[in-house]
Structure formats: structure tokens, C-alpha cells
């Protein structure tokens, strides 16, 4: 599964250097090449500081590589303008962050709406989409509750709903289980399994063994100091 005929994402000799030229220069990613095919569940595995997040943000069109190429759906994105990059990110990727990053004094529904605001969808379409993801995440009864006032599990599902509302083909999660107890983390992994079963590609950065050893994972990429040091396909 390493390289399909038409990879969804291809990463070619990508590097990321922070504060280049300065004394505190950090070479966070040092020449990584890989590709992700549609329908895959890929885990980026490695200790803290190994460059997982940096690689993930480059794949997700959230930041640009210092050198090398990232292509999404065959389109080279590394040199695109911010507007173009953002529009690809919005339509292709859904993000789940380690610290969820919900806006606490906004309702569950409004939080889920945020990614749709700049797309210019009609209000009716927006409502329908919110309705659908709320149903999928079993959150209908919490629609108008403030995001800061609901339980941890519900917050978790709200964050997933927000990531799904623009119907991404790829879901990216950065250390999603770092702050979760085992019950919540297995619930989240169930959700990922579900998404994947319906064809969504999932990329997870983690060093949590509960995720790494989970049966839904198709492939693991081992990172150390910004380099790929191993690859496992269980």
C-alpha cells in the first residue's frame, strides 16, 4: 500500500527548518519522502520533538515546506499562495487537534459551522450539513449547548464533527488521545474506524501505544529527529 498508482498525498524529500540562519535554527523535518493512498490509515509515530506535527502541518496544507514537494490529489501545493492553499485545506482536510480547540462560549452548532463560514454555502445547506454530522456524532441533544459546558466526550465528538463538516477526504489528527482516558480514546478510535470504513483517509500523529497497536492502523511511519527511521505495515 506504500505507493498506489495515484497516491492521494505524495511527500517528496520534504524538509522543514525553523528560524533558518539564526543561532536557534531547528531542522524539524529532514528530507522525508512517502505517499498516502486513498482509504489508508497511516500513523506517524515517534517521541516528542521528532517532527510529527511539523510533517503533519505540511501534509495538511497548513504550512509550507522549506524544501521539497508536497502534492495533494496530484496538485503541487508547496508554492501555492495562501488563498489557494487554504481553499485546498478546507475542501480536502479535516483537523482534530490535541487540545480540541473549541470556542467555549459558542454553541456546539456554531463551533461546527466555523469551517463552513468562508465557503459561502447557503444557510440551508449549512444547517443540513450540521444536522448530519451532529447525528453521526450523537450530539443532536447538545446542539445549542455551549461548547465549554459539555462533557469531555461530547467535546471530543464536537471537535470531530467540526473536522467532518466540510466533507474532507482526509482526516488528520495530532496526538488525539494524549489527554483521554482509555474509554474515551477507544471511543475515538471507533469513530476513526467508522470513518475509514466509509472511505475516509486517516493520518494520525501519536506516540500512544493504544493507537499504534490498534487493528485499524494500516501502516506506521517511525520518525526520529525529523527523519523516517522505519516503516511497519502490520
Amino acid at each position: 500500500m506504500t505507493s498506489g498508482a495515484n497516491p492521494l498525498v505524495s511527500v517528496d524529500d520534504v524538509t522543514k527548518t525553523y528560524n533558518r540562519g539564526a543561532p536557534d535554527e531547528v531542522r524539524a523535518v529532514r528530507g522525508v519522502s512517502t505517499s498516502v493512498s486513498a482509504g489508508e490509515v497511516l500513523v506517524l509515530e515517534g517521541p516528542s520533538g521528532s517532527g510529527k506535527t511539523s510533517l503533519l502541518t505540511m501534509i495538511g496544507c497548513m504550512s509550507r515546506p522549506t524544501s521539497g514537494q508536497v502534492a495533494v490529489d496530484g496538485r503541487r501545493v508547496s508554492r501555492l499562495s495562501e488563498v489557494a492553499l487554504t481553499s485546498i485545506r478546507r475542501s480536502t482536510f479535516g483537523f482534530i487537534f490535541q487540545h480540541l480547540h473549541l470556542i467555549p462560549n459558542l454553541s456546539v452548532e456554531d463551533n461546527i459551522m466555523i469551517p463552513m463560514v468562508p465557503t459561502g454555502l447557503s444557510p440551508v445547506e449549512m444547517k443540513q450539513r450540521v444536522q448530519r454530522v451532529l447525528a453521526e456524532m450523537h450530539l443532536e441533544h447538545r446542539r445549542t449547548a455551549l461548547a465549554g459546558r459539555i462533557s469531555g466526550g461530547e467535546q471530543q465528538r464536537t471537535a470531530v464533527a467540526r473536522a467532518l463538516v466540510n466533507r474532507p477526504s482526509i482526516v488528520i489528527a495530532d496526538e488525539p488521545t494524549a489527554h483521554l482516558d482509555s474509554e474515551l480514546s477507544s471511543e475515538l478510535l471507533e469513530i476513526f474506524a467508522d470513518l475509514n470504513a466509509r472511505g475516509t483517509t486517516v493520518i494520525i500523529a501519536t506516540h500512544d501505544p493504544r493507537v499504534i497497536d490498534h487493528p485499524i492502523v494500516h501502516r506506521r511511519l517511525l520518525l526520529r529527529d525529523g527523519e523516517v527511521v522505519g516503516e511497519h505495515a502490520p
Binding site: N19, R64, P65, S78, S81, A84
Partner: protein, 335 residues
């Protein structure tokens, strides 16, 4: 110097626009100097972020300028009470002819700023900033106009004193004078009206051809027609639209249309005409950019939008221009 709330507002507005444009061009020059699309250095990233600052500055400047152009007309209107012999803005402008130049710089800005913003919009959405140099080059050209506008405004307001005896629309827009405007005024409505009708029909047909055929030639034709239509539109206002609104066969002054006694009908007339002309010119001006492959789809989409806007705006203009001819008391005499 006349200190008057409208005058102060105009001076503040002018100064703010100059400040915005100067900062915008300085940042623009900075971007031009170090721009390197192949680099992904922090520096290039910082420059890309600054392009947003420039867009916001120019966007705000445009809005202020549109307001300022209308405020200027109205202020000239309001000031006429101060001058012996002035009955409307024409008299106030004649009291210190620099005023006509202010009108010209404001017109230039209202016509050119939207072109810049359209170019900017395409550039940002295109993906690789294909026209960044053209864009900031143009900006450096626009800034002196804003500066000239402010300087001329200060000169105008400094130069008018209430005791000036001025000549008004009676002489400028009369049928016997020797100005161009007098010639326009003396064109008999019987001749001007068919010309206006013909020009409008050609313009609308060309717009439709461009909108649905979307051939480069058609865009070019529309863009060439646009300034002609602006001229004919203004000439028609002087020649017969004003007359029909005032219901006075010899009164041709266009500025009275901006007064309350004409129910401010000058504003919709002017705004719709300018909107129609600017949005008609945009596709022709920007179509050559479509040759860059990455802009192709974007340009095509925007062209469709602009041409639609132009048709709509011109229709509004026609309604306001023709209304008094059809429903006014003077209609039959003019026909």
C-alpha cells in the same frame, strides 16, 4: 479658507486616503524589491502576509474615496450660497477653477481603484501570485493621484472666499456659450435622444455578446465602448435628462440633479453609470491575463460576474435617465 463641516470631512478623508496609499505603496515597493516566488524563506512568507495589508489599505481607501467623491459634489452644492452669482455647484467650482481638477482626480480614482482591486483579487486567488509586479507597479501610479487630489482640494478650499463673484451654470451650461458644455447643452434633444438610444442599444448588445459568447474580441469591444458610453451618458444628462427632470427647457445644469429639489436623483444616475462602465471595462482590461493558464478559470468566472453587474447597472441607469422623458410633463416637447 472656508471651514465648513463638509470641507473638514473632505480634508480629513483626503489625508486619510493619502496616508493609506502611501503606506500601501511603501509596503508594495518593499514586496516588489524582495519578491521571490520560488523561495519559501520566512522573509517571503512575511512578504506574502503583507500583500493582505496592502489589499486592506487600498480597499478602505476606495470606499473612502467613493464617499468623498459624492461628498465633494454635495459640498460644492452646499457652498454655492456663499457666492454671488452661484446657484449650484457649477458656481462654487467656478469660484476657484481648481475645483474642476479636484472633480477630475476624484473621478480618476473612482474609475481606477476598482481595476486595481479586481486585479488584486485575481492575483490572490490564482495560487502563485502571477501579476504581483503589475499590481504593485500600478499602485505606485495610483498614489500620486491621491496626493494630487488632497493638494488640489486644499488649494480649492483655500482659494474660495465668500466675496468672490462667480459665474454659474447659466453661462456654462447655456446653449449660447462657447464652452464644450454649451455645445452639449445646445445639441437639440431631438438629435441627442436617438444617439443615446442607439449607443445604449449597441452597448447592451455588446455586453450580451460578451457575457454569453465570451470571446476575447467581444470583451475588447465592450472595454473600448465603456469610456465612450461614459461620455455619451454624461453628455445625455447635460443635454436632455437634466432638462426633463427640471421641466425647464433651457436649464441644462447637471449639478442641480444632486439637490433635494430634484430628489437627489443625480446620485443613482451617476453611481449606476459609473458602476456599469467600470465593470464593463474590467473583462477587457484583465482578459489578457487569462492566457496564464492558472488564471484561466478564475478570470472566466469573474468576467461573467462583471458583465452581469454591468448589464444590471446600465439598466438601472437607463430607467433613471428615461423615466422623466416618459412620465415627465416636458416629455412631448422634447421628442
Amino acid at each position: 479658507m472656508i471651514l465648513h463641516p463638509g470641507v473638514l470631512g473632505l480634508l480629513i478623508g483626503g489625508a486619510v486616503v493619502v496616508a493609506l496609499m502611501v503606506v500601501g505603496s511603501l509596503v508594495g515597493l518593499q514586496i516588489l524589491r524582495a519578491w521571490d516566488p520560488s523561495s519559501s524563506s520566512e522573509n517571503q512568507l512575511a512578504l506574502e502576509r503583507r500583500t493582505y495589508l496592502v489589499s486592506a489599505l487600498v480597499g478602505v481607501a476606495l470606499w473612502i474615496e467613493i464617499g468623498s467623491a459624492l461628498l465633494f459634489v454635495h459640498t460644492a452644492e452646499d457652498l454655492h450660497e456663499l457666492f454671488v452669482g452661484a446657484m449650484c455647484a457649477t458656481g462654487s467650482l467656478n469660484a476657484n477653477p481648481v475645483g474642476w481638477w479636484v472633480l477630475a482626480t476624484k473621478g480618476a480614482m473612482v474609475l481606477l481603484f476598482p481595476v486595481w482591486l479586481a486585479l488584486n483579487g485575481l492575483d490572490q486567488r490564482a495560487g502563485d501570485y502571477p501579476v504581483v509586479r503589475l499590481k504593485y507597479g500600478l499602485l505606485v501610479v495610483l498614489t500620486p493621484i491621491a496626493l494630487a487630489d488632497l493638494v488640489l482640494q486644499i488649494q480649492y478650499f483655500r482659494g474660495i472666499r465668500p466675496d468672490i463673484i462667480t459665474s454659474c451654470c447659466g453661462s456654462l451650461f447655456s446653449e449660447s456659450g462657447d464652452h464644450l458644455t454649451s455645445d452639449l447643452a445646445s445639441v437639440p434633444a431631438a438629435g441627442a435622444l436617438p444617439l443615446f438610444g442607439l449607443a445604449s442599444a449597441i452597448f447592451l448588445a455588446a455586453l450580451a455578446w460578451a457575457r454569453f459568447g465570451r470571446r476575447p474580441v467581444s470583451m475588447g469591444v465592450v472595454a473600448v465602448l465603456a469610456p465612450v458610453i461614459l461620455g455619451i451618458g454624461i453628455a445625455s444628462i447635460i443635454s436632455f435628462v437634466s432638462v426633463a427632470y427640471y421641466e425647464l427647457p433651457t436649464h441644462h445644469c447637471p449639478f442641480d440633479l444632486f439637490q433635494g429639489s430634484s430628489r437627489y436623483v443625480g446620485y443613482p444616475l451617476l453611481i449606476s453609470l459609473v458602476t456599469a462602465v467600470v465593470s464593463a471595462a474590467l473583462p477587457g482590461i484583465l482578459h489578457p491575463l487569462a492566457r496564464r493558464s492558472d488564471l484561466d478559470g478564475l478570470v472566466a468566472k469573474s468576467e461573467k460576474k462583471w458583465l452581469t453587474v454591468s448589464v444590471a447597472a446600465y439598466s438601472v441607469f437607463l430607467v433613471f435617465a428615461v423615466w422623466p422623458l416618459v412620465f415627465g410633463n416636458l416629455a412631448l416637447e422634447l421628442m
